[in-house]
Each structure stands twice: as structure tokens, then as C-alpha cells.
Amino acid sequence: MTQDKTTAAFRFGYGLPLPDQAPAEPASMLAALRGPDVMAATYPGPRLADLNDTLARADTLLQTWRRAEAAEARVARQDYRQAIAQLEGVTLLAAKTTIARALDAPDGFRERLVQFWADHFTTVARARRDSPLPATLVEEAIRPHLTDRFADMLKAVIQHPAMLRYLDQSRSIGPRSRIGKRQNKGLNENLARELLELHTVGSGYAQDDVTQMAELLTGLTVGKSGTTFDARRAEPGPETILGTTYAGDKLEPVLKALDDLAEHPATAAHLARKLAVHFVADQPNPDLVQALTDAWRSSGGDLLAVAESLLTHPAAWSRIQEKARQPFDFTVAALRALGLDGADVMRMADDVFRQLILQPMAAMGQPWQRAPGPDGWPEAAEVWITPEAMAVRITWAMEMPQQLVTPLPDPAALMTRSLGSHLGERLAWAVPRSESAREAVGLVLASPEFNRR
């Protein structure tokens, strides 16, 4: 098997040039993944525990604003807006942090895995107060579990307030539970369905399994200081999901069901294919999918073993760039090609960051942390390389670099260092024929070889 640096950087990282001492072959990439999470310490991400006071304050102020007399309501409204601005500031900082980590990480594969799982467990803020929640889920429930068992990540995600709020679990109440009977409330099966369809087995379940899962999940909700299990909301009696019965109105049977779903053979097949599609090709090599499935099943869903199986399979090192870089990947790769590092991004004024980075990403079809649904962003290259998106990519490539870097880097040097062995003859011919450095840099960043991976 031939493993070249260019493929390592494009397929398993955020592009060329690789940071100093970055590993570029399977053994050292895996060693880095097993090692300490340097970027989490360099650029700390948001923690829900640090936000709970502000969230509680916002909720109280909103109540006061709605209920109080005019003068008091006015003050409450002002304070509420301040609290929301604070929370949205956290969101913006977290977006910068994610890009800074992707730029500086010596182990780009770790950052790519974080993005993969963050997308697999997509959450979207459903109210302005919730805006930093998706980032806290990534930080607390995904990032720490990249090399653990899938069950550990699944349990952390399903118990995270961001997920419980996004998919309505925080509102679901057992109709025959104490609170359900008293308040005449009942089930909401949103999380139960996506847990089966999207997060784990993907197929082979029936409506009954969804309903039973929803009943089993009742009790799991979000309180003032985070996730709690409230037995007064839990539907009494045992529930049967995919043939296994779970008894007891407490958290343990919920966790047991999540363990079982995580280790279900269908989950292995579902996620093996999803990993191969995301990292390698929209129509992945069946041998690769099988190898990932086998690694998943024989290790009981050990994500490190699965990562090793991915990195050591010959099909994962095919030189063909079958995938399109999604707008986030494109943006990070472009910043890297232009020579920006994490510190540059962290220093960027908020409005500049919005205008040069977040707004164009949205115009390319990928607004930050606002995937269209719980199934996350689509993978197919055709979805991303549309006329509209190409217009934005080309315009960004032509216009934005000069606003990010003065003077512009030498186009020929930028071309070779950012494309490595993917550089094609047509681009190499065209770049020296541009009328200006601006347009030459634009050609490199707009080229097929830069926009594919």
C-alpha cells in the first residue's frame, strides 16, 4: 500500500501544507490519536456547566419580561437581550475555536473525526438561548470519546441537554406516569425515532420499537443544572425494543438499551458504511466497508480499532479525489493554504470573521451548525458543487484572500504547497497566465483539485 502525504492531508486532515511534525502515515497518525488532545488545551471549547447560570438568568428574565408591568418588563427585556448576546458570543467564539484547532492541529485526523461525529449526532439550536448548546455537545460528549467505545459516545450524546432539547426529549412525558396523569401530558417520539434511524441501527425496526423506545426514554429530561432522570415523568412498566425487554423506571435500563443499540450488528454495518462514505468515496469500496464492519463488530465498537481499520486499508489510500470538500473543509484548507494559523483566526474581529468566513460558508450551502435536519449534512459531491455554490466558491477564491493576507502569497508557491501531488497539468498551465496575483490565487483555490478531496 502506498501512503502519500498529500492523500493523508486531503483525506484525513484539513489539507496541505501539513503542520510541523504532523504524522502522515497510519502508525504515527494512530499514535497521535491515542496521545493527548493538544488542541483542546490550546484552544479550550465551551462547557455547558459554565453557561448554566446565564441560561437560567435568560429564562427568568424572559418570564419577567412577559409577565411584569411595563417598567420592570423594559429592564428585563434589556437584561434578557444582554444575556442572549453573551450566549451568542460564546457560539461565535466556539466557531473560531473549531477553525483554529483545525488549522493548528498536529493531528488533523482527530479534528476530522470530531467533525464526522458532530455531524452524525447533529444538533441545531432551536431558540436563541440554545445557540451555544451544539458546541458544548461536541466538546463534552463527542471529543472526549473519539477513541472509546461507540456506546460511550452514544450515551454521552443522548444524555446531553443539547440533544434532549433539539429532539424534544425534554418535553416527552410518560402518559401513565405521575406527571403525565396529573398534567394530562404524554409522549414525544422524536428522539426515539432518530436514535434508531439515524444514530444507531438505521433499519430493521418497526413503529412499535420507536414507541417503546420513546416510553423507555421518558424520565430523561433537562433540569436547571443539566440532564436529570425524573422518575415522576417515566412511563411505568417494562419496554421491549428490538426483542429485548428493559424494566425499571430509572436511568439504568435506558443506558442498557443504548449499550445494546451501540453493539447491535446493524449499527456496525450502518456506521462502517457512513465512515467510508465520509472519508473516502460517495460510493465506497465494498471491501473497505466490510473491513470496517468487521473491525467494529470484533472489537465491540471500539472506535480506535475502527480508525485503525480505516487508516490501514489500501482502498483508503486511493489517489482518486472522489469527494468534494464541504464548505467548512474548503474554508479551513483555504486559510491554511494562505498561511493563516489558529492565532490569526482567534484574533479576528467578530464582524470580520462573520463576513469573511461564516457568511461565505453559509452562501456555499453550509451555515455553521445549522444543518437542515438531524441527519446532518449530505455527503454527495453533486450536492455541494452546484452552480450557486461554485459561484460563491469562485468569488470567495478571487476576492477574499486579499482581505485576509497582505501581500498575497506568491501564487506558484501557494499552488505547489497547497496541492502537493494532486496538482494537475491544467492548473499548472493556467496559474502563470493569470493577469494578476489575485486571480492566480483565485484559480488555485477554485480549482477542482483544491475543492475535491
Partner: protein, 401 residues
Amino acid sequence: MDRRLFLQALTGTACSLAAHPLMTTVTLAASDGSAPLGDHRLVVVILRGGMDGLDLVRPSGDPLLAGYRPTLSAPQGPDLTGYFSLNPMLAGLLPLWQAGQLGFVHATSTPYRDHRSHFDGQDILEAGTGLDLPDSTVRDGWLNRMLQSVPGLRSQTAFAIGADSAPVLQGPAPVSNWQPDVRLDLSPQSRLLLDHIYHDDALFREAATEAVTLTERMDLARMGGAVQPTVDKGRLAETDRLTDFAAQRLRDDTRIAAFSLNGWDTHRNQSGGSALPLQRLERVVLRLADQLGPQVWDKTLLLAMTEFGRTVAENGTKGTDHGTGGAMLMAGGALRGGRVMGRWPGLDEAALYQRRDLMPTSDVRAWAAWAMRGMYGFDRTLLESSIFPGLVMGSDPGLLA
């Protein structure tokens, strides 16, 4: 995905983010000079998320309704047939109903059953296949298959605008995508060099070529620097903008327009959550009628369809979960409306699908097929085999006025 809401959220000027993405795509297909599609206009609106048909057109004459839906059935809307009443949020459509330009199909669905997944359900709705799971070999949408069957269509006959391309119009027939507020400004030399570097990569070559030619052809606001987000004035502004865009094209040589309205996945607090999507739907119908003018509107049929209906009973959070049988809205001067069509299965528990959902009594594709047959004279065999494989159209419901 609607980027404006997002941008405003980050810049702190947004209203509620609960007001989720409204429109994804407008797809337009135009006839060339020889007008192979004739004068009729077909507008297809995909209501994404699972529109609650029982809330749209309510069987208020059935005393069971209030038991199933204590919250949702409470505010009364205008009576339609003595048995069915209209959702009060859509009261503005009543004059169209009275004029025979508005109608509904009840208890209809795609052939999709049991899994109640949005993603599969929308795929099947747009692919128009007869399988109850998405058939990965039928990747293009039914509108596209219809276009392929029209002789004499030339390149650029159809084009679309929007943030993603709609599968209903995807496939080998010539389609292009565009969103009206992004513009590409390039020097001639850069254009030549871009052509050169995209030459060998078909995906990039086609996307970039369309991007360049379409922007030049359309008279649109220039973007300064890179991306100039449109400032949203009011929650219906984008709906209006896209409706107007579609109407302008339909007045011209466009014969088919398709787009989506999102926000119908009302798992909780449905009476609040469905207000905006209902307003948008009403607005699209009324504004389209207004913008098209009586002459074109008389030749127009709008079909609004969804991937599945919702549970008959309210859930525990004053919403409804994914169901099966749903409803379809039709409007237009070409419609013989003022009717609620389809066989009504009733709300008795034993009459429900799996004792949970409204029992589907018709295939949503059959109504679209009859509309296409009535408007464009498509051969029945063609409709039942290649456009909607496996469909049995049944007897003619006489949709057109």
C-alpha cells in the same frame, strides 16, 4: 437551509430561530419557442416535514376529532363542506374555495409505509417510485422524467434557483440551478482560465459554466465583494421574493415550477409551530394568483403535497408525530375545485392505519398523474410506467375546470 435567518442570528437581529428554514428551492422549467408543453402551468409545492392533513382540512363533523385532538381542534375555522372545515390560519383562501379555485385531497399518501422517516418519505415523494423504500436505481425525480418525455426540449430549457437542487427535477434532462442573489464577476481572462482548469472535471465544468452564464443572463442585484445577505423584512419576505420570482417566470415561457416549504414537522406545540408554515402556504397561493393575473392563473394548477401525514391523536406535547395518510392542497384557475376529493376512511379506531394514522385511500402520485395528463395530454401508459413506475391511476377524478 435558509441562510438569512442564520446570518441574522449571528448578527443579533434575528427574530426567533424557531422560525426555521422556509424555502429551499425553486425549480423552473421553460418551454422553448415551439411550446411543447402548451399553455398550462404546473406548480408543485413540496411541504417538507410531514404536513398534518387533519389539521389543514379538519373533519369537524366527526365528534371523534375533539377527543383525538383537544388542543388542535379547538379554534374553529370556516366550514367547507358541512363536514370538513378549513384551518383558521388559511381563512384567507376561502374566496378561492368559493370560486372553485381551491380544492383538497384527503387521506392520500405515497406508497411509503411504516417507517415514517422524513428522509425516505421525501425521497419517495420526489422520486415518484412505487416502492415503499427509496429505490436507489431511480435517482431522478418524476418531474424530470416528465421533461425527458417531452420531445424538442433543448439545453437550458429548465432551470432552478435555490440553496439546494430539488430531486424532483434532477436527472439527465437539462436542468440548472441558481439562487437569485449571488453574482459572479470575472475578467474575460479569468473566465477563459477557469474554463481551462474545469475542462476535465464534468461536475465542476457544468456547475461553473451555469454559474457564469446564468448570472450574466439574469438582471439581479450585484453582490459587493462576495456575499451580500438579503435583509429580511418580515417573516414572509423571502416567501414573497421567491413566489414573485416564480410568477415572473411563469408569466413568461416557464411552464413548470417546483419548490419546497419547510417547517411542517410539528412534534410539539403545533398550534404555535404550524402558524408560520400555514401563513407561508396561504401567502404563496394568494400571491401567485395575484402576480400571475387572471389570464395565466386560469391556466395554472398548483399541487401542494407532503411526504406523509401525522398521527390522528395529539401527542403528549400538544403536537403530532409522524403518521401515514395526509392531505394535498390544489389551487388554480385551471382547477375544478370547491371539493374535498378522495375517499374518506373515517376516524374510528378500527378504520385507522395501524390504529394510529389516517388510512390512506389513494396514492398521491395518481393525483399528480391525472393533473399532468389533463394539462399536457400525457399518455396514460407513459405516466404509469416511466414517470411513476408501478402507479395505477384508477378512474379520472376530473381535476381540471
